[in-house]
């Protein structure tokens, strides 16, 4: 089976590099984008199976990216895990309403993040999309 591809969207190069290493070590293919605008372009080009999205981004923040993904018939099917340093009390609800599948505050627990990625990529029942609290 092909490796699943994950698109990392984050403007911090060190965070991208770290997450990239972590995901590759867990046998995922990765691609990345550094701002809101290229996030959409990369999503269209790379057709990832999952997007890990930061919220504070140049050229269209994470909320804008979520909105654009939702508007697009093909892209709206891609699950999005939001990974942000922002305060969950202030943003979690808005993010989940925006169509994200899961929310993690940085720094996230690696084991939890990976297990969420696994369950999002392989829904427990064929034909359904896993939803995470």
């Amino acid at each position: 089976m092909d490796k699943a591809k994950i698109l990392i969207v984050d403007d911090d190069p060190d965070l991208r590099r770290g997450l990239n290493l972590r995901l590759r070590a867990n046998h995922y293919d990765t691609a990345y984008a550094t701002d809101g605008f290229s996030a959409i372009a990369m999503a269209q080009k790379e057709k990832p199976d999952l997007i890990i999205l930061d919220i504070g981004l140049p050229a269209g923040d994470g909320f804008v990216v979520l909105e654009r993904l939702q508007e697009n018939a093909t892209l709206s099917a891609i699950p999005v895990i939001v990974l942000t340093a922002r305060d969950p009390q202030a943003t979690r609800e808005k993010i989940m309403r925006g169509g994200a599948t899961a929310f993690f505050q940085k720094p996230a627990d690696n084991a939890e993040l990976l297990s969420t990625i696994r369950s999002v990529l392989s829904p427990p029942w064929p034909g359904t999309v896993a939803t995470m609290a």
């Binding site: 965070l15 770290g18 972590r22 070590a25 504070g56 340093a85 305060d87 940085k106 720094p107």
Partner: protein
């Protein structure tokens, strides 16, 4: 002289005079005319009329007689102050109740005048100063709130900015520890584990900073639901077992299996218990032990008690009162180099009290401490209360009786469906079949709630409730298998033609109660926005 604020163009003042004695009211008016004050006086003779006026308009000042036909004494000024907290109040007191007037001043009234003992100049002066003092207080309050808001935003920004580099440290340290960047020698692993521990400490401190500001500005959010507190305890224990083992501290658990569901925010409880256990681990020397218990007390049947006891060095009596205060630091901790921010117990206490519980500590220096907190048990009746009862408008000819059953243990219950049928049977025998209604039953996580709408006055409701209690106690089918909690809530009847038969009214209320219960059970926080779907008279 009482005039518009100096230096400003006259902005006419309005005074609300609440005084039932026409003679006294006229005298006040006369004094105001004498003082050449540019005021418009609106006079009412009842507290209710005054409160209504304050709801519609906002006068510059209230002149208040404390003894009115519909309210006496302290109650009078308390109601006015809470209705219009920003409006200055001057009390008009009788000669014999100056003491009460002084009390009023201590509780937020700006000034008082003794009837028959003030002239126009004194009245004008009292009013002017009252307005000025109130304005000062208001602006102080506004600037305090602005400061809090600024602090909140600032800390929110700071914690966001601190988290980004922290995430980077966390990611690369864990990458190395997981061996993803090449093999490590044991000493390197040990050092990296130290870095990781510090990173995690830093992370929780950043979280606490923001949380403490939220507590201060009342922005901390608590969303209670029905939760099994035992499960939360197990979850926290499994999270902290490793750090206890590292210090060779034993972790024990004692949860009474009969504890009904609590009404609390599970995430917040996780936070509270983690805080208490973290502290216990920190203050207990290797070889000691920590015990977490959850239990019920007969003397306090509406709450569940949760305690965390350690065999640590205990807390001195003189600091016991201070440890829940913000920024309190325990001097000379075992782990002296890491004192933390001193916010944990402060946040913990606030979270517990937001749930309607309390927290306290018992300790014997040298022998350990026990932190205990309480949480309200989940009660359908209590949950429904604000939605079915309009404040001050009780009509007691209709009541909602809730019977909540909690199984004692899975073995004792046996066939739950059969048990439910027996309960229904029993309840049917307790009510008057022609008037009272047994609504659909509701299962909520291993327990069952039965709702009865009784067409009875207060006394009748008491009789039914008592009868149900007795029957549950006596029923051989239920004995030893379930704990039953029976409570009644009087319902505000909808406005309607009273010629309508009671049965029809009951049926209509039954429909909206059922709808309400369905809507709120899964998400109790919705209850605040919901009211029973009928107009209340």
């Amino acid at each position: 002289m009482f005039t518009a604020q100096r230096g400003t163009v006259s902005n006419r003042h309005t005074v609300l005079l609440i005084e039932d004695n026409p003679g006294d009211a006229d005298l006040v008016r006369l004094r105001l005319v004498e003082s050449e004050s540019d005021v418009e006086v609106r006079c009412v003779d009842r507290l209710s009329a005054g409160l209504q006026h304050l709801g519609d308009e906002s006068p510059t000042l209230v002149l208040l007689d404390l003894n009115l036909p519909d309210s006496h004494g302290a109650e009078t000024f308390r109601k006015i102050l809470s209705k219009a907290p920003g409006v200055p109040v001057v009390v008009l007191s009788g000669q014999d109740d100056e003491e009460l007037a002084l009390k009023a001043v201590h509780q937020g009234v700006q000034d008082y005048l003794v009837k028959g003992e003030f002239n126009s100049t004194q009245l004008a002066r009292a009013m002017r100063y009252a307005i000025e003092r109130q304005a000062l207080l208001t602006s102080l309050d506004i600037s305090r709130r602005q400061q809090l808001e600024f602090k909140n935003q600032f800390l929110s920004h700071v914690s966001h900015e601190l988290r980004t580099p922290l995430t980077c440290i966390h990611q690369f340290v864990t990458l190395m520890l997981d061996g993803l960047t090449g093999p490590l020698v044991p000493q390197q692993t040990e050092h990296l584990e130290t870095v990781l521990r510090s990173t995690n400490q830093l992370r929780s401190m950043i979280g606490d900073l923001l949380e403490a500001t939220r507590v201060e500005s009342g922005k901390i959010r608590v969303e209670p639901q029905c939760i099994a507190i035992g499960e939360v305890i197990h979850q926290v224990l499994s999270m902290l077992r490793a750090s206890a083992q590292n210090k060779e501290i034993g972790l024990e658990i004692g949860v009474d299996t009969r504890i009904p569901l609590a009404f609390a925010d599970a995430d917040r409880m996780l936070q509270v218990l983690t805080n208490l256990l973290d502290n216990a681990i920190k203050f207990t020397a290797p070889g000691g032990s920590i015990m977490v218990k959850a239990f019920l007390l007969e003397s306090d049947p509406d709450f569940v008690y949760i305690s965390v006891s350690d065999t640590g060095r205990g807390i001195n009596p003189e600091v016991k009162a201070m440890i829940f205060e913000r920024l309190y630091q325990e001097p000379g901790t075992i782990d002296d180099s890491r004192k933390g921010l001193g916010l944990g117990l402060y946040i913990t206490r606030e979270i517990v009290s937001l749930h309607g519980g309390r927290i306290w500590v018992e300790s014997e220096p040298g022998h350990g401490s026990t932190f205990t907190f309480t949480l309200p048990l989940f009660s359908l009746a209590k949950l429904l209360l604000p939605a079915v009862v309009e404040e001050g408008k009780l009509r007691s000819s209709l009541s909602l009786i809730t019977v909540e059953l909690t199984p004692l243990s899975a073995q004792a219950v046996g066939n739950w469906r059969e048990l439910r049928r027996q309960c229904l049977e029993l309840l049917r025998s307790c009510i008057l079949a022609d008037k009272d209604l047994l609504l659909p039953t509701l299962g909520i996580e291993k327990r069952e709630a039965f709702l009865i709408l009784a067409a009875a006055d207060l006394h009748g409701t008491e009789v039914i409730t008592e009868r149900i209690r007795e029957q549950i106690m006596r029923s051989p089918d239920l004995q030893g298998r379930v704990v039953g909690n029976v409570s009644a809530v009087p319902i505000a009847l909808p406005t309607r033609d009273s010629s309508e038969p009671i049965e029809k009214q009951v049926q209509e209320v039954a429909d909206s109660v059922t709808e309400l219960v369905m809507a709120v059970l899964l998400k109790p926080k919705n209850l605040e926005q919901k009211k029973i779907n009928t107009k209340v008279n």
